[in-house]
Symmetry: C2
Subunit: 214 residues, 2 copies
């Protein structure tokens, strides 16, 4: 068995990865708080398309950092995204992450109403107390319903991470989010995912910790 591996200590692997990403981004320039987000998404996907796809409303990352520091609830639309969020760092600031997708009551209500579980889970989340960050990595129906709830004045998120992935109403849901005044980070186009949603949350969490882990 023969393989030529780079000799990199476990603790150095992420650092070395980020150096490679920086090098390959070349002359591309990003605001200082945005760069760690772009890099972490590329780190989680190995997909440099995100250097072009990610759209940040003015001050969105700073708003995310401030919100996390003061303790907030991060709402995800999948258990996968929930799993990927660094709860250790989030809880250090008094925050928590929730996902209602596996709630049997949400499933029953969705079926009865002919909606997706993602739609109903956004309605549940909108009723939560305290500052909310929404991280939508999968379901465009969740992002569309969230925009409607904002429009109806039923929820006022501190930040929306809108990165659903796929082919049916995904592009449209993100273009809708881009028209909203709510601070947002959106991956324009079809790409995104639970891993991307979690990576953006973590890039914000690490900056809040004063350790961008770039």
């Amino acid at each position: 068995m023969k393989v030529e591996l780079q000799r990199v200590a476990p603790a150095e692997i992420e650092k070395r990865s980020m150096e490679i990403i920086t090098s390959e981004l070349g002359e591309r320039s990003f605001p200082p708080e945005v760069l760690p987000v772009v890099k972490r998404v590329i780190h989680t996907s190995a997909d440099f398309d995100y250097a072009d796809n990610l759209v940040f409303s003015p001050g969105a990352v700073a708003k995310g950092i401030e919100t996390v520091k003061n303790g907030c609830t991060i709402v995800t639309d999948t258990q996968m995204a929930w799993s990927g969020v660094n709860k250790r760092v989030l809880e250090k600031f008094g925050g928590r992450a929730v996902c209602f997708m596996s709630d049997p009551e949400v499933a029953a209500e969705a079926k009865a109403r002919g909606e997706t579980r993602a739609t109903v889970s956004m309605e549940r989340a909108a009723a939560l107390e305290g500052p909310l960050v929404f991280a939508i990595g999968n379901a465009p129906t969740a992002l569309v319903r969230l925009c409607q709830l904002i429009d109806e004045g039923k929820v006022s998120p501190a930040l929306v991470i809108g990165v659903p992935v796929g082919f049916v109403n995904v592009v449209e849901s993100k273009e809708l989010m881009l028209t909203m005044d709510t601070p947002h980070i959106v991956a324009r186009g079809r790409k995104g995912g639970s891993n991307v949603a979690a990576a953006i949350c973590n890039a914000i969490l690490y900056q809040a910790s004063g350790n961008a882990r770039e």
Copy 2:
């Protein structure tokens, strides 16, 4: 608030997505059991690169389907991939999914030995009874260690899904897996991820159920 959405019932969204993927794959041809895997990975990533990147050893998908049907343990290298595997279908066949990454003993041993947690978690998994499917979506160190364990005769997986993502030893770990006799599905190059690992598991599970959900 204005958005032009396609009117698609919740139950039809995945079907419609798969139709779009089929259409955009155009003339590309894949063996019948491979096609649902390729499509599900594109469904989870919106990234058609996987139509070219995914490499299947002869009979790998059939072996996966057979293994799942007889009940097996799917070992993942992240909690995210674990979250993404459809446990309902897996358990229907008497199977289960495990991940040792959050095990405090694994963390302690990794630190003491100067290895990654992923490396040590593969050693734990290798000691499990019964047929094993490994789904590695994140850590190249896990895939390399798994190849070594196979080489040392310490484990004989029914199937290895080798789709770690990133920049340090990722390509090398996958090229190593491609030299092994063990049935494997590998995403050649830098791309991959926990979402991709879970999608491949699910494409196999749905075929085992007789419902490819293409």
